[in-house]
């Protein structure tokens, strides 16, 4: 016997290996009828091409992790192959799912939800309102044991009742307990903590949550060198004044910083917070803004919050000139006050490429845009 090395081609099936698993592909099998082609084969071939066109790259992927459970179906599709009239058996392993008609799971006595492809199952689970409910599915059956790990989680921690100091303490402890358990989770899509009663004694906890949030955002920003569009919607928090946003992508073409300043006075996005908390240290905020404007100079579409424009106005009056930029589209989404004009003037001067400037009024007067 000879060792032929790793398997790469067997019975017309190509095999590609990686550390994560094996991909099976059978495009070579399609040539079976090439010696005497008929119209029916042409039709089948066209259908295959149509299918491949809308689903490029589809194949079977078998995970390297072992799962020993194998479910087999006998005669699940009897006589469907007109050429051979052979009975068709299906094999199903939790690693991968083959397409089967709905009759199969009734025969096998399986459960309908587990029969959905893994990606759809994960999608449904990701719509559950919090991590607790996703974790709870781990006890349903063996197949569900580790499924929650791959669900993009929305972590929502709502304060249970506006009660005593003890209950706040319980609440904070419960968040930590939950986060510790969730550390193995692959994706965290949303992390939200409502702390009704802030107290100095929770500063360390809040710091920890803050680090977690920043870590996630940093990973997103530094891990996406091709990031093209970034939308930051109401980044809030009392720690924001010390927070730095570093965007490493050179391809960033769209940066939107949302500001709900006017509609909701209680709704405090980052820049308003910056403004408020920096009242006695406005210079620091200005340095931050200058840096931000420099780093987004190559950006094409830019929307600015009212706070940005206000600060730019102040800076312009102090003789500061906004950096040369390649902004082509500029939008500000609240009404303009007279005080804002020096700021607008300042960036108009430096943006020779500017093509569109949109200024929206919120109080139901029409949107004005001019070229």
């Amino acid at each position: 016997m000879k060792d032929l090395g790793d398997l790469n081609f067997f019975l017309g099936i190509e095999v590609a290996r990686s550390e994560e698993g094996i991909v099976l592909n059978q495009k070579k099998v399609l040539s079976q009828y090439m010696h005497s082609p008929k119209t029916s084969h042409m039709e089948v071939a066209l259908r295959v091409v149509r299918y491949i066109k809308s689903n490029p790259g589809l194949g079977l992927f078998m995970l390297a992790e072992a799962s020993n459970k194998l479910t087999a179906y006998c005669d699940s599709d009897w006589g469907s192959c007109l050429q051979t009239k052979r009975s068709v058996a299906g094999i199903h392993n939790s690693n991968f799912t083959l397409h089967r008609s709905s009759i199969n799971y009734i025969m096998a006595g399986g459960d309908p939800l587990s029969d959905l492809p893994r990606s759809i199952l994960l999608y449904i689970l990701s719509m559950l309102p919090n991590g607790k409910q996703v974790v709870r599915t781990s006890v349903l059956s063996r197949r569900w044991r580790f499924l929650w790990n791959s669900v993009p989680l929305s972590l929502n921690f709502e304060f249970p009742n506006r009660g005593s100091i003890e209950s706040t303490l319980d609440y904070v402890t419960s968040i930590h307990r939950e986060l510790y358990y969730l550390r193995s989770c692959e994706k965290i899509r949303k992390f939200r903590v409502l702390l009704y009663r802030y107290d100095e004694r929770y500063a360390k906890d809040v710091d920890l949550w803050k680090n977690l949030t920043e870590e996630v955002l940093e990973k997103v920003l530094s891990g996406c060198p091709n990031l093209e569009c970034l939308e930051l919607d109401t980044i809030r928090g009392r720690w924001q004044s010390s927070w730095r946003l570093e965007i490493s992508s050179v391809k960033l073409r769209k940066l939107i910083i949302q500001d709900d300043y006017v509609q909701n006075p209680d709704f405090c996005p980052s820049f308003k917070f910056l403004f408020r908390h920096g009242e006695h240290n406005l210079d620091k905020e200005f340095i931050y803004l200058k840096g931000l404007l420099h780093s987004v100079a190559h950006v094409k579409n830019l929307e600015l919050s009212p706070w940005c424009i206000q600060c730019m106005s102040t800076l312009a009056l102090e003789g500061w000139q906004s950096p040369p930029s390649s902004w082509k589209f500029l939008k500000r989404n609240t009404h303009v006050e007279q005080l804002d004009f020096p700021g607008i003037y300042s960036f108009l001067q430096s943006s020779s490429d500017l093509e569109t400037l949109v200024i929206e009024w919120n109080n139901s007067t029409p949107t004005v845009s001019f070229l």
Binding site: L125, V139, R177
Partner: protein
């Protein structure tokens, strides 16, 4: 008009404006592959009728927003997902295959809403899941994260 054929050989005529909400069929039409009947081997006629009902109602979604028919559409969606689990999963599989994003979202959200706050026992019963864990294994999982299995919001009813 575009003709669709289910896997039990029934043909359905659908307006092109409705059917192009399916990314897959839209691509086929753009490439000129939809001149005759489009066979849908993964979808039975019962499911296809539901999908077509949805597509017909959702033509010109943008217009609905303008004319204030949004509520009407919302009501339709609520009624639409009022179906059994197995039917719902058939529609999800069809929406996934045809690549109809909005329908997929609607049905998956409905599935998630039905599972929301349900106890382990209730979920098992609703989805007919056979528990193949031993009692010790089950206890071990619960002991690892007891907080996930307790709370006043957990609902043990089956619907």
């Amino acid at each position: 008009m575009v003709k669709l054929k289910s896997n039990d050989d029934k043909e359905f005529e659908v307006e092109e404006a409705a059917v192009i909400q399916s990314e897959m069929i839209k691509n086929m039409i753009e490439d000129g592959c939809a001149t005759s009947v489009i066979p849908l081997p993964n979808i039975d006629s019962k499911t296809l009728i539901k999908v077509i009902e949805y597509l017909n109602k959702h033509i010109n979604m943008g217009k609905a927003a303008e004319t204030g028919e949004e509520d009407d559409l919302k009501e339709f969606d609520e009624q639409f997902v009022n179906m059994g689990w197995e039917e719902l999963f058939d529609v999800i599989m069809a929406a996934n295959y045809l690549n109809i994003h909005e329908l997929m979202e609607l049905c998956c959200q409905s599935a998630a809403d039905r599972l929301k706050n349900k106890s382990v026992r209730a979920v098992r019963e609703m989805l007919k899941i056979t528990n193949d864990l031993t009692e010790e294994e089950e206890q071990e999982i619960i002991n690892d994260a007891p907080w996930a299995f307790e709370g006043p919001e957990i609902d043990d009813t089956v619907n």
